[in-house]
């Protein structure tokens, strides 16, 4: 479908341009920004404007994504790539949705970054502005790629650009270590993806160009090889998304990056893995056995619980948010598993419901996690402190940041009428509908599995009360540096955009679901029917049937607001509004100070005690006579010790063995070459 332009629109594009061509132009714009950044070292003013230009590009990308979502699929072949495999790009509904997600969240985050990066030193800023647009372009290309080669190139560009962004503060050893871990696991995942595409291509026959997605769609897939491809893809994309047990890099790398980059990584980059999972399992693979779904569901639920339990015991605010991203990815993957189960069982309408829920949650998470990282970044920027035990009371110094972050915190805690609630509500509805399945054991187990989602959601509320309460409320736990400043206007606007996203996605679910319908139609041949019907259809959300369940956030909000207003007026009118200020009471104890509040460790203590088995706790208990006692309790991931440490030890031992060959003497190396040569000669001449 051609896009109709108003007359006078710049004629760079021929009038019958398709959305994918615009998307490619957007990618080129970001690439050009990246290429220009190193040359702008002298022009500081221009360089500082670069994030704003990225934001404009992102806004355009969101519009293009929307067009791609609504228009029929369009494709182009670029004039470069491998000799017999040029880059194929395609924009269908699924790509359109994720491009919309990238653009919309990327706009808010980049706007925020305009303010955030302003204070950076010029050299470092030029480096960041080289990688930042490249990162955006890489993610867009992952979403647009229509052949395995373009996909892998884009995937690597995304991984490398984000690696260099993570290690922006590379003078700090911990950050270098985090960056290395990220790079390592990203590449193990990439190898799995490469193999997955190889297996997918294996069944391809006919005259289609090899390694294009079109060829893979048409391939004859034996069930066994399809399962191998699926497992490889689940591993590869799971490593990027942070599925347990491939999650270990995530709580290290996401907090290490500058806050806008953390926001992009958690909010958008993790979603490219979800995009990949959906693309491979529903689009490229033709068969979907039911057990894939059971596996993904189990993995997703384990990830969700694991992530949220560890989020509750963190004492570093950005690390807490990173663990909470793992939780949300777990919920999304659980929805993905449920979609596969329903799809394999031929329950198209239910598959559409769960698919809608998971896409909705992906969209939500981009907004609220972006917002939370932005809020945490503003605090970090103002105080230079990430440890929650040294923060507190920020709502008094940074009201804008605090109230906007509160919206994000309430949204991610799954509270109505914000957006996090809608997607979790849809997912829980889907769990309740499983009794229609043909396998009896699934019927009984899955509603109980819903309890895991409920537990994760309830714990998320705990985590967010901890995060917001410790950082923004109460008294400052350490002396506040004198020049504590509120976030500037670009930051506030960025956060406002993201917060508005959280509110609007929460208040207008019927409209959002209508927007998601092309994707569910593409992947499951079904759409979610909103059964509210008639005039109420625009405010009432009733998936499946209105007898079954319904939810109307607008009425909800309206009633709360009206009651709020009435009670306020009534209290003021009938009684009075007199108030006076005094010292806090605290049961009459006169010597209280800020150190008597719960620290981050203290707030997480019940969780640590209940879920003791999951974690290895390291404690430093202060001496009772210490006048300035510091308590430190660190909860470590047991999986690291059980799973990764043995592998790391083995690698170290093997390299020690190999190291014996290395003496640093030239004679030995000559002998090695000589022996190899002899060996090869014997081998060749035989």
């Amino acid at each position: 479908m051609a896009i109709v332009f108003p007359s006078g629109f710049p004629t760079v594009f021929p009038p019958d341009s398709t959305p994918v061509e615009f998307a490619w132009a957007g990618v080129l714009f970001w690439l050009a920004l990246a290429a220009a950044a190193p040359f702008l070292r002298r022009a500081r003013g221009l360089l500082a404007l670069a994030p704003a230009l990225c934001a404009l590009g992102a806004l355009a990308m969101a519009a293009i994504g929307l067009a791609g979502l609504l228009a029929p699929a369009s494709a182009i072949v670029l004039p470069f790539g491998l000799p017999d495999l040029p880059f194929h790009l395609r924009l269908d509904a699924l790509s359109g949705l994720f491009l919309l997600l990238l653009g919309a969240a990327g706009f808010g985050v980049s706007l925020y970054a305009t303010g955030y990066f302003r204070h950076m030193e010029t050299g470092a800023l030029a480096m960041v502005m080289l990688w930042y647009p490249l990162f955006l372009a890489g993610m867009a290309m992952v979403i647009l790629a229509d052949d395995a080669y373009a996909f892998m190139v884009a995937w690597e560009v995304m991984a490398l650009a984000s690696y260099f962004l993570v290690t922006t503060d590379h003078a700090i050893p911990d950050i270098r270590r985090a960056g290395f871990l990220y790079l390592l696991i990203a590449h193990i995942g990439a190898v799995a993806l490469l193999l997955a595409f190889g297996v997918l291509q294996g069944g391809a026959v006919g005259e289609m160009e090899a390694y294009t997605f079109a060829a893979m769609r048409d391939a004859e897939q034996a069930p066994f090889w399809a399962s191998v491809a699926f497992l490889l893809a689940l591993f590869g994309f799971g490593a990027k998304a942070g599925l347990v047990p491939m999650h270990v890099w995530l709580p290290e790398a996401h907090p290490a990056a500058p806050s806008p980059v953390s926001a992009l990584m958690s909010g958008v980059m993790l979603k490219t893995a979800i995009y990949g999972l959906l693309r491979v399992s529903f689009d490229l693979l033709n068969v979907q056995p039911g057990w894939w779904g059971t596996l993904a569901l189990a993995l997703g639920l384990v990830t969700a619980l694991y992530g949220v339990i560890f989020a509750a015991v963190q004492s570093d605010m950005k690390r807490l948010l990173a663990w909470s991203s793992i939780e949300n990815i777990g919920i999304i993957v659980a929805g993905f598993g449920l979609t596969l189960i329903f799809h394999a069982d031929g329950k198209g309408a239910l598959a559409a419901l769960t698919l809608t829920a998971l896409l909705y949650h992906a969209l939500n998470h981009a907004f609220f996690k972006g917002l939370l990282f932005a809020g945490a970044g503003a605090v970090l920027h103002a105080t230079g402190e990430r440890r929650m035990g040294f923060l507190g009371g920020m709502i008094r110094f940074m009201p804008w940041t605090a109230w906007l972050t509160l919206i994000g915190a309430l949204a991610i805690a799954g509270l109505p009428p914000l957006n996090g609630f809608v997607s979790e509500w849809l997912l829980l509805q889907a769990f309740l509908l499983t009794p229609g399945l043909s396998q009896p054991y699934l019927n009984m187990v899955i509603p109980v599995a819903a309890a895991a989602v409920a537990l994760a959601a309830a714990l998320a509320a705990y985590v967010m009360v901890k995060f917001f309460g410790v950082v923004f409320l109460g008294q400052p736990r350490a002396p506040i540096p004198g020049q504590l400043h509120e976030a500037g206007w670009p930051e506030r606007l960025g956060m406002l955009w993201l917060a508005a996203g959280c509110v609007l996605l929460g208040l207008f679910p019927p409209q959002v679901i209508a927007l998601l319908a092309p994707v569910t139609r593409l992947l499951t041949n079904q759409t979610l029917v909103n059964d509210a019907g008639g005039a109420a259809g625009w405010l009432l959300l009733a998936p499946v049937s209105s007898e079954r369940a319904s939810y109307a956030p607008l009425i909800f909000l309206l009633v709360v607001l009206v009651v709020l207003l009435l009670v306020f007026v009534w209290v003021r009118r009938v009684h009075h509004g007199r108030a006076r200020r005094a010292d806090p009471w605290d049961c009459g104890f006169p010597e209280q100070d800020a150190r008597m509040q719960d620290s981050a460790e203290g707030f997480g203590q019940p969780i640590r005690q209940i879920f003791d088995g999951f974690m290895r706790v390291e404690r430093e208990t202060p001496d009772p006579f210490d006048p300035h006692p510091q308590y430190r309790g660190d909860s470590r991931d047991k999986l690291w010790l059980l799973l990764y440490q043995p592998i790391a030890d083995l690698a170290a031992r093997l390299s020690a063995l190999v190291g014996r060959l290395q003496h640093g003497r030239i004679q030995w190396y000559l002998i090695y070459s000589f022996v190899t040569l002899i060996f090869l000669l014997v081998f060749v001449t035989r």
């Binding site: 109505p416 409920a454 509320a461 409320l473 009670v567 806090p584 509040q597 203290g602």
Partner: protein, 314 residues
């Protein structure tokens, strides 16, 4: 439609006005059981009146969140009271939120209360907030499981449909509901800060959960919170009635059945309140870290109820 909205507003107002009465009744029963002279049943109204007349004292460092929270909590509870069918079924608000959204409303109020408790930065405030969130994250999944069991029977998460399925169709005994009812009772004692999880009359700060969170509140703010607490108890009682003993709730549009419905409601609430105070009189508050066991039991009972449904009732 107009009648429906009028009925809806009447029902919500009635819940708001009657809620302190239920609280007074429970207190009265407990005093009798403990062999004390009971306060009059209208005592909670007097307390509210006294609090509304006082001047509010607010800590120097309190943020606007602290002053906003009581209104928010009250509004959430009023909405919840409007959604649960107490007198008549299928009122205009009820499609706005099903049982899962109802859990969300309670969670919203609780999060605001916990945040307000942490706002001033006193030791007891954050301690109370932490404990409250601990109890709630254990109670919420159990509560959802109870709702799921009920909704599996009626194949709906809409409260009016659940009530309709139990009250106005032919009478069937559901064993799964028995499990769910016990679990619901356990969860609602925890959620309403009653014995054995919390003690509403405690004077010992170290054992407080709910009371520790509202220590800094005074006058009109405290009154609103106390009223909201009463309203929460009322709503939970109404919820229990709607899920497990819904007989008497007027069917949709049947105005003639309303007086009987009011009578049935008062009778059921009186019995429920007496039962609550009896259980409180004979049991003791458990240690905080026994709460996971208590609520874990509730969760398992609800899950058992669900499995019973699959084994016996499908």
């Amino acid at each position: 439609m107009t009648t429906g909205i009028l009925l809806q507003i009447t029902q919500t107002l009635l819940a708001i006005l009657l809620a302190p009465l239920l609280m007074g009744w429970v207190n009265q029963c407990r005093a009798w059981l403990q062999g004390r002279a009971a306060p009059p049943i209208t005592q909670p109204y007097r307390v509210l009146r006294k609090l509304f007349h006082k001047d509010a004292v607010i800590a120097h460092d309190a943020s606007p969140l602290f002053r906003f929270a009581p209104y928010m909590i009250f509004a959430c509870m009023a909405l919840a009271a409007g959604i649960v069918p107490t007198l008549a079924n299928d009122l205009p608000f009820s499609p706005a939120a099903d049982v899962i959204a109802l859990v969300g409303i309670f969670a919203l109020a609780r999060v605001f209360l916990a945040l307000a408790a942490m706002d001033i930065g006193t030791s007891f405030g954050s301690l109370g907030a932490r404990r409250e969130m601990l109890v709630s994250f254990l109670a919420e999944p159990a509560l959802l499981m109870v709702f799921f069991t009920a909704s599996l029977i009626s194949r709906s998460t809409e409260l009016p449909v659940i009530v309709e399925a139990l009250a106005h169709k032919e009478f069937v005994i559901y064993p799964s509901l028995a499990f769910a009812a016990v679990a619901f009772w356990m969860v609602s004692t925890a959620e309403n800060a009653r014995i054995p999880i919390d003690n509403p009359t405690t004077h010992l700060e170290l054992t407080m959960i709910h009371e520790a969170m509202i220590l800094e509140y005074s006058a009109r703010h405290l009154a609103l919170i106390e009223w909201a607490v009463a309203l929460k108890l009322f709503t939970y009682s109404a919820l229990g009635i709607a899920l497990f003993v819904p007989w008497g709730i007027a069917p949709a549009g049947d105005l003639a059945a309303l007086p009987l419905a009011l009578l049935a409601l008062v009778a059921k609430m009186a019995v429920g309140g007496a039962g609550l105070s009896l259980l409180e009189a004979v049991s003791a508050k458990v240690r905080l870290f026994r709460a996971p066991e208590f609520l874990g039991t509730a969760f398992l009972l609800a899950v058992l109820g669900m499995l019973t449904h699959f084994l016996l009732e499908v």
